[in-house]
């Protein structure tokens, strides 16, 4: 057996060394800086495992290759995660304030606006980067601020940048408290930010809570059938939560299942980050696009919030529009914080939570819409 097949260090390239450093950085950020540790630590470990020369984990039959084939290429992992997410979300704030759905819808411009820019920089215009139509759609999905949807759409479309897109989506979710406030202050006046809204609402009956997930599956499924796997698993998880008779299953979905799948998903995504795929200019541009996507989604939600502010006779605080992107519950907390800065008596959290959960549904619909439309336009 030649030495370079026995000693990994002899087969170590500078690209693999950079990737090992990157894996270490992700683990450092997760543990020392507590940036999304639940994901960044498994992803960082996966990067290291995948880039150890001669380790064989990403070769056919290797652990990471098996996990990728079983959980990512079949879209199983993101859908299982969605069952857990659905079981964690309380849609009560949204059901009490149905109008906040439109803020979630508007914020999805982050997806489509970023797609447009990515495609313009790629095959559609300047050709500065190797971005095909499908790659551009997958990059735009970072704007959904929704990890499982990003994985699902990028995988179904077969984007070669799936791993970078997923890492960008999860990284920026942790940066929401840094990205959003300057945009919120720039696009709203002090008088708008000070506007108080009633914290209490009429309440929602149990029957409504139980019917909502079932009806949502039917409505979204009939309009955007490609979104059915995502909305179906999300709402199934929510049905477990709201049924009132499946507490054990709801807890299992929220905890055991989500935790196990998160470990496997993180490792697998990290394992997809090989030096050859990751160390290219396109990856850097995908990270830039991630900021654009989050910023555009936030701005679109705020602008629509301002429209509602005017249309409602100045009764809706436009800040809640920023919660339309689906990074839950970070966006709602950021809105509450910025609102309180402007007016110490301004408690927007319940309204923002409505927009935030609406954003969760809207991002799934947007992902489904994108998947349905790609064959007609690509």
């Amino acid at each position: 057996m030649p030495d370079n097949e026995f000693l990994g260090v002899l087969a170590l390239t500078w690209q693999a060394a950079v990737m090992l450093g990157l894996g270490g950085l992700l683990i450092y950020l997760g543990i020392a800086k507590q940036v999304e540790p639940v994901l960044l630590v498994p992803i960082g470990a996966g990067v290291i495992l995948a880039n150890i020369p001669l380790g064989g984990l990403t070769e056919p039959g290797g652990l990471l290759a098996v996990l990728r084939a079983a959980g990512i290429e079949t879209e199983l992992f993101p859908l299982l995660i969605f069952i857990g997410v659905g079981a964690m979300i309380d849609f009560g704030s949204l059901l009490e304030r149905p109008y906040t759905v439109f803020l979630g819808a508007a914020a999805q411009f982050g997806i489509f606006g970023t797609f447009f820019l990515a495609y313009f920089l790629g095959d559609g215009g300047l050709r500065l980067f190797d971005f095909s139509f499908k790659d551009a759609v997958s990059i735009g999905i970072i704007g959904s601020a929704d990890g499982p949807t990003s994985i699902y759409v990028a995988t179904v479309l077969g984007s070669k940048y799936a791993a970078s897109i997923v890492v960008a989506a999860y990284s920026y979710m942790a940066l929401v408290p840094i990205i959003q406030p300057p945009i919120m202050r720039a696009l709203t006046t002090d008088a708008e930010r000070r506007l108080t809204m009633p914290a209490r609402a009429r309440g929602v009956s149990r029957r409504t809570r139980v019917l909502f997930p079932v009806v949502t599956i039917v409505v979204v499924g009939l309009i955007a059938p490609k979104a059915t796997p995502l909305i179906g698993t999300l709402m199934f998880g929510n049905l477990l939560r709201e049924s009132g008779v499946l507490e054990r299953l709801s807890q299992a979905a929220q905890n055991e299942m989500t935790n196990i799948v998160t470990i496997l998903l993180g490792l697998t995504v990290g394992g997809m980050m090989s030096a050859a795929d990751f160390l290219r200019p396109e990856t850097i541009m995908i990270y830039v696009m991630g900021v654009v996507a989050f910023a555009a989604g936030t701005a679109a939600g705020l602008v629509f919030g301002k429209v509602m502010y005017v249309a409602s006779g100045k009764r809706i605080n436009p800040l809640i529009g920023a919660a339309g992107i689906s990074a839950f519950p970070m966006c709602a907390r950021v809105v509450q914080k910025v609102g309180l800065e402007a007016n110490p008596h301004n408690h927007l959290i319940m309204h923002a939570a409505g927009a935030n959960t609406a954003g969760q549904i809207a991002s799934v619909v947007a992902g489904g819409a994108a998947l349905a439309l790609v064959p007609f336009f690509a």
Binding site: S205, T208, A369
Partner: protein, 48 residues
């Protein structure tokens, strides 16, 4: 880029259409199955 523009418009159109329907559904659910009227709290007798 024209087809990309149409893609954006169609995508946002589907999102607003679907979620608009969802608003109708939620309003309907709240109207038909909303919480009943709050029962008026009876005053406790002062010396209770």
């Amino acid at each position: 880029m024209l087809h990309a523009t149409w893609f954006v418009l169609a995508g946002m159109g589907i999102v607003f259409l679907t979620l608009g329907l969802l608003v109708l559904v939620m309003s309907g659910l709240n109207r038909w199955f909303g919480p009943g009227p709050q029962t008026k709290q009876t005053k406790k007798p002062r010396n209770a």
